[in-house]
């Protein structure tokens, strides 16, 4: 018997979160993940916000919500030139860190996120069969 599972990918553009304070940003992300959506957010959270997201996630863990899988994909190259790096840092200070993407998914659906330079692998697990598949 073939088991079909619907996965919902929710894209959150940076302008949707740039005016939110840290707590509201985190609540928005967690709310979507708890609704079994895989969030693809433009940009990234600050380090402190990432820690707060983990802390909040721990507070929410229950028999049904097992936590999150989280990964940040940087699109700005580390080997960018000096002036380009300064320019990008100034843009970050003024507009927030909109470089790259953040992927957050519910741990009961996303077992692991693997990153290669040019691809991202989401390892999912079907609860019915326990088999793994890559997307």
């Amino acid at each position: 018997m073939v088991t079909r599972t619907m996965l919902t990918l929710q894209f959150i553009p940076y302008f949707e979160i740039e005016r939110l304070d840290s707590q509201k940003r985190i609540s928005k992300l967690l709310k979507a993940v708890k609704a079994n959506k895989i969030v693809l957010m433009e940009g990234r959270l600050k380090s402190e916000e990432e820690a707060e997201l983990i802390r909040k996630t721990m507070e929410e863990i229950s028999n049904t919500f097992k936590g999150i899988e989280l990964s940040v994909v940087n699109t700005s190259g580390a080997d960018e030139g000096f002036f380009k790096t300064i320019k990008s840092k100034m843009v970050n200070v003024l507009l927030g860190d909109r470089h790259g993407f953040t992927i957050i998914g519910p741990a009961k659906i996303i077992k692991e996120i693997k990153q290669d330079p040019d691809k991202i692998q989401l390892l999912t697990e079907e609860s019915s069969s326990g088999s793994r598949r890559r997307r």
Partner: protein, 210 residues
């Protein structure tokens, strides 16, 4: 970058020189060997272990402190309070504990304590004066938890030493850990067997500017 490292050194040096109770935290993902390293340090310098270790993740679910640890080398002395923290994770599933033989009630209790442990470990970040990040050298270092821990320490300007533990295992890959965090000194050790532990102590002295 050299200036940043120097300022870290000076900062660390000042702390060890002036403050009475410097907190040296052990941070990292679950099962990296934080408590094994804490036990090794305590056994070497205090003659007693610090906590229990296990192959099952989240064995340490509370913050443990060993006060007044003094390490000595070549006439130098370093004194600190050692803080062993629970492993930081983004997910905790009680069913994982059942897979290693725990009863449902026990597994749920362990999961609940583990979540509290992660929250406490994050809260304690603000209290640390310096941190040793303990990573499992057999695991992929490019996990967001590692990046988040180190990013938070950087944001708080807390000096960091990275330890790649379990180098006694064939699967270990020191180069991969070094490649993941090129801006930090990485010391490969086996806390369990004491391999390269002298280099670890030397790195602590070096970080302290001694």
């Amino acid at each position: 970058m050299i200036n940043v490292l120097k300022s870290f050194k000076n900062f660390f040096s000042k702390m060890f020189g002036k403050k009475k109770k410097v907190k040296l935290g052990l941070y990292g993902p679950p099962n990296g060997g934080k408590t094994t390293l804490a036990n090794k340090v305590c056994l070497d310098w205090l003659g007693e272990e610090m906590g229990s270790v296990s192959n099952v993740a989240h064995e340490t679910r509370e913050v443990h402190i060993k006060e007044q640890v003094v390490i000595k080398s070549k006439g130098k002395e370093l004194s600190f309070n050692l803080v062993d923290t629970p492993g930081i994770a983004t997910k905790i599933d009680y069913e994982d504990f059942m897979k290693v033989g725990m009863k449902e009630k026990e597994a749920k209790e362990r999961a609940k304590e583990a979540t509290k442990g992660v929250i406490d470990a994050i809260k304690w970040l603000d209290d640390m004066d310096t941190v040793v990040v303990v990573l499992d050298a057999t695991k992929d270092p490019y996990s967001q938890v590692n990046v988040t821990i180190i990013g938070n320490l950087e944001a708080r300007k807390i000096p960091v030493l990275i330890v790649a533990n379990k180098v006694d295992l064939k699967k270990s890959n020191m180069k991969k850990i070094q490649a993941a965090f090129p801006q930090y000194e990485v010391i490969g050790i086996s806390a369990k067997f004491g391999k390269n532990i002298e280099a670890f102590y030397e790195a602590l002295f070096k970080l302290a500017g001694q």
